[in-house]
């Protein structure tokens, strides 16, 4: 877990990124409602860091990750990437042909290691094909590289002739990691890479991701909903609520002193893994707001225990509360919110 050094350079600058679904005329002439899955996200990821993204199911984490890796075309905004050789390119606006040289630099690892691997391809094809397609290796050399990668992620080189079904969930996630590494990427979008895995296997995969990062100076965008994992692994964390970032901070600051009521609610909902801490969480009632029909004012206001009149009508902006700390709440700073320590203390 590398704490980002002061001189770390931005590698990805996401500016007002948007992805809207629907809103198109259907054959009958009716217009479907626009779903604002990602609705104006801005943040910067520094080289070598692990940047966490948390939030409830459906809040837009995967959509955002896929837009950044250009597995989806954004509706608007920029994803400014700093290539190794210098300069800056906006991945969001490049035409597919111009995107080619950068695409291999940003790879993805998926939550579901079963459905993300083609069952009819051997590991050699799964991991080797992108190398061939991108002209990184040919013939025998592909085999060598695939073998090396398999060993690096804790599998045997001989396994390259086998098909994915012959492997356990944890092993399949290792295959997914080897595939992502095949093109020597600089950034990996990890979309819930351990959520589908057994607890004991989670630890092995998290350790592997940490080792690879240290070895190859990788940058991770780490999407997760397990706050324990995020706290353990990430340098900085962004909290998302219906398509927007509502808080962004260094991990230790965020967990010690959240500034947004939603962050506090998320942390309080995690049952403490200590039987002597008998706490009643502050329950967040209701469900995530509907991205096709957002409430006016602050999108969180119908569920917020600190809501005041202003929140119902005026939408808060994401503002820099203190250097490096961003929050989208009218009352940030004025509220005294509980961090993990106070939440545990409240248990007594």
């Amino acid at each position: 877990m590398s704490s980002i050094s002061v001189q770390a350079e931005p590698i990805l600058s996401v500016r007002d990124l948007k992805k809207h679904f629907g809103g198109k005329k259907t054959w009958s002439g009716a217009v479907s409602k626009t779903i604002r899955a990602v609705d104006g996200v801005t943040f910067t990821i520094y080289e070598g860091e692990t940047f966490g993204l948390v939030g409830e199911s459906g809040c837009g984490k995967t959509t955002l990750g896929r837009c950044i890796a250009r597995a989806l075309d954004p509706t608007g905004g920029e994803v400014v990437y700093a290539p190794k050789e210098g300069g800056a390119v906006d991945l969001a606006s490049l035409k597919p042909r111009d995107l080619r040289p950068y695409r291999q630099d940003v790879q993805m690892i998926f939550q579901d290691p079963i459905s993300s691997l083609n069952p009819r391809m051997t590991l050699l094809d799964i991991i080797g094909e992108p190398m061939v397609v991108n002209g990184l290796a040919r013939g025998e050399e592909v085999k060598h590289r695939v073998g090396d990668l398999l060993e690096r992620v804790g599998l045997r080189a001989e396994y390259m002739v086998r098909y994915p079904h012959a492997f356990s969930g944890g092993q399949r996630q290792r295959i997914g990691i080897a595939r992502a590494l095949a093109l020597n990427p600089r950034v990996i979008v990890c979309d819930e890479p351990v959520s589908a895995l057994d607890v004991s296997v989670q630890a092995q995969i998290l350790n592997l991701l940490q080792d690879l990062q240290a070895e190859k100076n990788l940058t991770y965008l780490f999407i997760a909903h397990d706050l324990g994992v995020v706290e353990y692994l990430c340098d900085r964390v962004a909290v998302m609520y219906v398509g927007q970032v509502v808080e962004l901070a260094e991990t230790s600051d965020l967990f010690a002193r959240p500034l947004h009521p939603y962050t506090e609610a998320l942390m309080s909902a995690v049952p403490p893994a200590n039987p002597r801490a008998a706490r009643a969480p502050r329950l967040l009632e209701g469900d995530l707001a509907n991205a096709a029909n957002l409430p006016p004012g602050c999108h969180f206001h119908p569920r917020c225990g600190y809501c005041v009149e202003r929140c119902r009508t005026e939408e808060p902006e994401l503002r820099e509360y203190s250097p490096g700390r961003f929050v989208r709440c009218h009352r940030a700073g004025e509220l005294k919110l509980d961090g993990v320590a106070e939440l545990a203390e409240a248990d007594l």
Binding site: S57, S200, L206, A265, P271, A273, A277, D287, A344, E345
Partner: protein
Amino acid sequence: MNHDRHILLEIDELKTHYHTPQGVVKAVEGASLKIREGQAVGVVGESGCGKSVMLRSILRIVPQPGKIAAGTIRFRRKNGEMADLTAMDSNGRAIRDIRGGEIAMIFQEPMSSLSPVHTIGDQIVEAIQLHKRVPAAKAREMTIEILAKVAMPRPDQIIDQYPHEISGGMRQRAMIAMALSCEPRLLIADEPTTALDVTTQAQILALMRRLQAEFGMAILFVTHDLGVVAQMTEYVVVMYMGQVVESAPVDDIFFAPRHPYTHALLHSIPRLGQRSAGQRLEPIRGTVPDPFARPSGCPFHTRCRFNDGQRCVSELPALREVGPDHQARCHYAETLGLSGVAAPLERVSA
């Protein structure tokens, strides 16, 4: 501590096997546990260790080609008599009266108990009328009441909706409402919140706790979330390869574990509030052995740090008393001096 309460369910040396073309899978291979009236018992262990098969054995809903091969499951009926569920015909009247009426089960995926083609209300009304002789109008009234009890928003409207029209958290509530409609004395919950967001999970757990207090029902709770175990259960059963390897009050499991597997599980999981610089997780070494090739001796020996290379590989340890209300299945349980998890904050342990 709970000895004043009657035993509600007692599983003794249960064996449930699957006869497959590749060989016999000993999914449950000698599991024993006790649940007292009103007690919340947690079951933990890696996937494939037999948790679900054990729970399904209780209700006699083990799918083909699974069969209970040995052991007893004794359950205290409403009239106080202890009945052996393994001796019942799995389609007979007796077990059908118990299912839903005295023991209810909820699952990770609510759609495994809800039908997509019937309204929430029709399904709960049917469940009520299966076990209670009440007219339809009365059953509908009871359904609205139970939906309100599980904190379903707008119960008088939701009752006429179909499962796909409501959110995942609401479906989970509907499934719980259906399970509770006949006031079971034992609720079996197989990872009921694993698929939910933490926010929804918190709502469902609070609900289960409240209902447990209100109805005085016992809960047998399978989960892999240590936070859920800590907050929801009084007593914990740890399983490995179809056997119970440790069972103890929840406080002992966290702070004074006796089995190396329990210890390893506790230390392999990141826990909120535990971050410290340069820390690394300690994964459990290796992987769960192939179910067709059970290791000799202690089944955990292939992954155990304390394997002595002799007794551990040749002799199966017995599940034995290692402390008050505390059992472990390890030759060296008393002498290993395993550390529990430290309390997350000093103040908490005060």
